[in-house]
């Protein structure tokens, strides 16, 4: 088991290296000059050139990469071109909202979708099943921001239940924190409810077709026990997989949600940094996201051991 984890962790290194190189090249090989933006409106060509060399952008790309990678290994992610602070500090400021939003979204999504999927599989072919399948396709066909505006209009402006925008730090009180986060989390969770419900339904359906279910029913076990203990547990592997994929996809959805609800998180930070050509920040955030993705995949794979004793690493 432990060698498995170790091997997996080691194999993340080449992946992260690939990510680092890809992102680095992407930023530097495309037009877009941070020096010109930094220099301001009335700058001369000499001033821009000066800034370029002070940022180290006038050196060859391999050299620049070497310097950046070297710093990275020492734990230094560099300094933002614009904000006069360490990138790590910038990220630390913005990570809480994104983490909070993502966590609440996953919690809502799993709590809602798994029971729905189980129910649909149990009542296979019935009206509930068909309704769920219909709504789930709708769920991942509507773009997040359209859903966001709709929900804001109904729940915030018309009904007045939630604030229109904004984020309150956990340190300022649990209820305001939650209150501001509910609407964005609901908005974002719809697509994941759709996805996870579908997979739950399909795998529970498959599990329900197996012999051991017939045996369990023949033993006279209550239906609920059959569903939860036997069907769901055996269906857990694909469900865990799709939850893992969902968490990884979440990062993309977070960007739009943060934009509409004015949540100062990592998603917005990245978009702003890309538009401002703030290379160090973009590089650091994308590396961070990629690392999170890899770790989540590892955790999901490890969870298989819990769900399926047949799987041994």
């Amino acid at each position: 088991m432990y060698t498995f984890i170790l091997r997996r962790l080691l194999s993340t290194i080449p992946v992260l290296l690939v990510v680092a190189v890809l992102v680095f090249l992407m930023l530097r090989l495309t037009p877009g000059d941070p020096a010109a933006i930094l220099a301001g409106d009335a700058a001369s060509t000499e001033q821009i050139a000066q800034i370029r060399s002070s940022l180290g952008l006038n050196r060859s790309i391999p050299v620049q990469f070497g310097i950046w990678a070297g710093n990275l290994l020492q734990g230094e992610f560099g300094r933002s071109y614009f904000y006069k602070m360490e990138v790590t500090q910038l990220i630390a400021q913005r990570i809480e909202p994104t983490l909070a939003l993502a966590t609440l979204t996953i919690v809502i999504a799993v709590l809602v979708s798994v029971p729905l999927g189980v129910l649909a599989a149990w009542r296979f072919g019935g009206w509930f099943d068909r309704a769920l399948m219909g709504f789930s396709v709708l769920g991942f066909s509507v773009p997040v921001f359209v859903l966001a505006y709709l929900l804001i209009w109904i729940m915030s402006l018309k009904l007045g239940w939630f604030p229109v925008q904004g984020y309150k730090r956990l340190a300022d009180g649990f209820w305001p924190f939650l209150h501001h986060l509910i609407l964005p989390a609901i908005t974002l969770s719809v697509i994941y409810i759709a996805l996870i419900a579908r997979v739950t339904r399909a795998s529970v359906l498959e599990a329900l077709g197996e012999d051991y279910i017939r045996t369990a029913r023949a033993k006279g076990l209550p239906e609920a026990r059959v569903l939860m203990r036997h069907a769901l547990a055996n269906a857990a592997v694909p469900i865990a997989t799709v939850i893992g994929i969902g968490i990884a996809l979440l990062i993309g959805g977070v960007v739009v949600t943060e934009s509409v609800y004015a949540i100062p998180g990592l998603g917005r930070l990245t978009v702003d940094a890309v538009l401002a050509r703030d290379f160090p920040t973009v590089q650091a955030v994308i590396l961070l996201f990629s690392f999170a993705y890899v770790v989540i995949n590892l955790l999901v794979d490890m969870s298989y051991v819990v769900f399926d004793p047949r799987i041994r690493y």
Binding site: P31, G32, D33, A36, I37, L38, A39, G40, D41, A42, A43, S44, T45, Q47, I48, Q50, I51, S54, S80, F82, Y83, K84, M85, L90, Q93, R94, Y149, I152, S156, L157, P163, V164, Q165, G166, Y167, A171, D172, S259, V260, Y261, A262, I263, P264, R268, L269, D272, L275, A276, R277
Partner: protein, 525 residues
């Protein structure tokens, strides 16, 4: 080192710790500025956000009141020698930086020097200056090589770059590097520990600030502070969300609402629109004089004839009370805002433009117009320009990109096909364009001038004379002559003026009339 610790202690004491919970008594003004605050050095960049930040925490030697007269602010009195070559200024008593140190003449001299390296008008002023010194702590002197008529106008200019006064150690930062310390002597103190880029910027009242006795007017007069905290909400950038937030009372002020928002704002409960800046802004279209087709003055004239101001204003602003056409390159209603020479644009029509274009020998080179996709205030202008130029017979290549890319591209002197440009459009605050020296588009010194790089010796000579001239009537005549010449050679196309009233909750009062975004004197009832 001790001073820094003292400053930190002072700031901490004033702030009362990092746990941010406004007490019931504390008045917090929640502002949504028009853009994100990324650069905190108002001398380094001309960005309006940096300037607004500067007005919060710094003070200026002179200010410009709502009648566009220069008034003393930090300066108490000043004398000029009979030959106009020695200016001696005395500072008001009791001026102190946020770290407790008094403001001295040395700080002033260093600040002016740094500003004079970056600002266009400041650079012009510095060409006259022989040296500056501070003979006594509360005095400073400027020695001129020859008389110049722009001393007070320059030192009191309301908009970018504003000669804010910083401590000497900060002002000594080389002009091509950004400052790293944000200590000023202004009415608010910057809470650096609470600054979260892209999220919020926080300013607290400076209890030790002593405002002048006069009523506030423009950037002059007494800077009284009636709130305890000002929070700039940098995260709320979606225009509809801004309107919703103001309507629900989640924020207090929208600094510059999008024009499409006004309809909803007018209907919102508890919201008022305040036109505190009647002089407003000016739109302009800038030609690239280095490359075809606009390296041919006749083609520029044809373009000027085609680009009537009405269509631009109607499309972009839309609300009749908020815009007006102004046939002057300088702000209408200010001393130099005359209409002389502007007939080529103001008295033209599309037929004339088409004729001029045919006569100019235009060969069909496509005109590359840079269109920013993320600046609501000027987003529609390039489309109007494209439509009008096409109607006149031009071939147009409208290229869309985000504003930062526009900023990088307009600095490029390469031909349009290799990453350059032919036209870009932008907006200025009235004080940025109201005289021939601050107006960056009028400068015609070839590659040393503002993006577009026109070259014309006649204009440069007239501008020089303008700088030296002390008689107001003569200055007006010179400005007229400059404008006539500028329209003749087609430096750029002024596209009319507009106001952008702010939207605030009913209980916010005390707005100061004048240019720029000013948050002193504001009351939250």
């Amino acid at each position: 080192m001790n001073r820094k610790i003292a400053a930190a202690v002072l700031l901490a004491a004033v702030a009362g710790g990092t746990a941010v919970h406004a007490s019931a008594q504390e008045k917090v003004l929640r502002v949504v500025p028009h853009s994100n605050l990324s650069i905190l050095d108002p001398i380094w960049t001309t960005q309006f956000m940096a300037r607004n930040h500067g007005y919060m925490i710094y003070d200026t030697l002179f200010g410009t009141d709502e009648k566009n007269r220069v008034q003393p602010q930090m300066v108490d009195k000043w004398t000029v020698s009979p030959d106009n070559r020695l200016w001696t200024f005395t500072l008001r008593p009791g001026l102190e930086f946020h770290d407790g140190k008094p403001v001295t003449g040395e700080d002033v001299v260093a600040s002016i020097a740094r500003w004079g390296k970056r600002d266009a008008m400041g650079q012009k002023l510095m060409t006259f200056v022989e040296r500056m010194d501070a003979p006594a702590p509360n005095t400073f002197r400027i020695f001129l090589r020859e008389a110049c008529g722009i001393m007070l106008e320059a030192l009191g200019k309301p908009s970018s770059n504003v000669p804010f006064i910083m401590p000497k150690r900060v002002a000594d930062t080389p002009a091509d590097k950004q400052i790293e310390e944000y200590i000023g002597s202004g009415p608010y103190i910057f809470k650096r520990d609470e600054f979260k880029p892209g999220d919020k910027a926080v300013y607290v009242k400076n209890p030790k600030y002593e405002p002048r006795k006069e009523a506030p007017s423009g950037t002059a007069g007494g800077k009284f502070v009636y709130v305890d905290r000002v929070e700039w909400n940098l995260a709320l950038r979606d225009a509809q969300a801004q309107v919703n937030a103001l309507a629900k009372g989640e924020v207090d002020v929208l600094e510059r609402p999008a024009f499409e928002s006004y309809e909803q704002l007018k209907k919102a409960d508890g919201v008022v629109l305040v036109n505190k800046d009647p002089l407003g802004f000016q739109y302009m279209a800038r030609f690239n004089h280095l490359h075809p087709p606009f390296n041919n003055p006749k083609v520029r004239q044809a373009a000027l004839a085609a680009m009537q101001q009405e269509p631009f204003l109607r499309a972009q602003v839309g609300i009749k009370e908020y815009y007006k056409a102004c046939p002057s390159m300088f702000t209408c209603g200010t001393p130099y805002g005359s209409a002389k020479g502007s007939d080529i644009q103001s008295k033209s029509n599309m037929k004339k433009a088409q004729e001029l274009l045919k006569a100019s020998g235009y060969d069909g080179t496509p005109v590359v117009i840079l269109k920013p996709t993320d600046l609501a205030a000027i987003q529609k202008l390039p489309d109007v320009a494209a439509q009008l130029l096409r109607q006149a017979g031009f071939k147009v290549d409208l290229q869309a990109m985000d504003w930062n890319t526009v900023v990088s591209r307009r600095a490029k002197k390469e031909p349009p096909a290799q990453g350059g440009w032919n036209i870009f459009l932008t907006a200025w605050l009235a004080p940025d364009v109201w005289n021939p020296l601050t107006n960056a588009a009028i400068g015609a010194d070839g590659e040393k001038s503002w993006f577009g790089w026109p070259k014309d010796e006649a204009i440069e000579k007239l501008r020089d004379q303008f700088a030296r001239e002390t008689d107001e009537a003569k200055k007006k005549a010179l400005a007229e002559a400059i404008q006539v010449r500028a329209f003749e050679i087609g430096t750029h196309a002024p596209l009319g003026e507009y106001v952008n009233p702010l939207a605030a909750r009913k209980n916010i009062t005390g707005w100061v009339i004048g240019s720029g975004d000013i948050y002193w004197n504001v009351k939250k009832n």
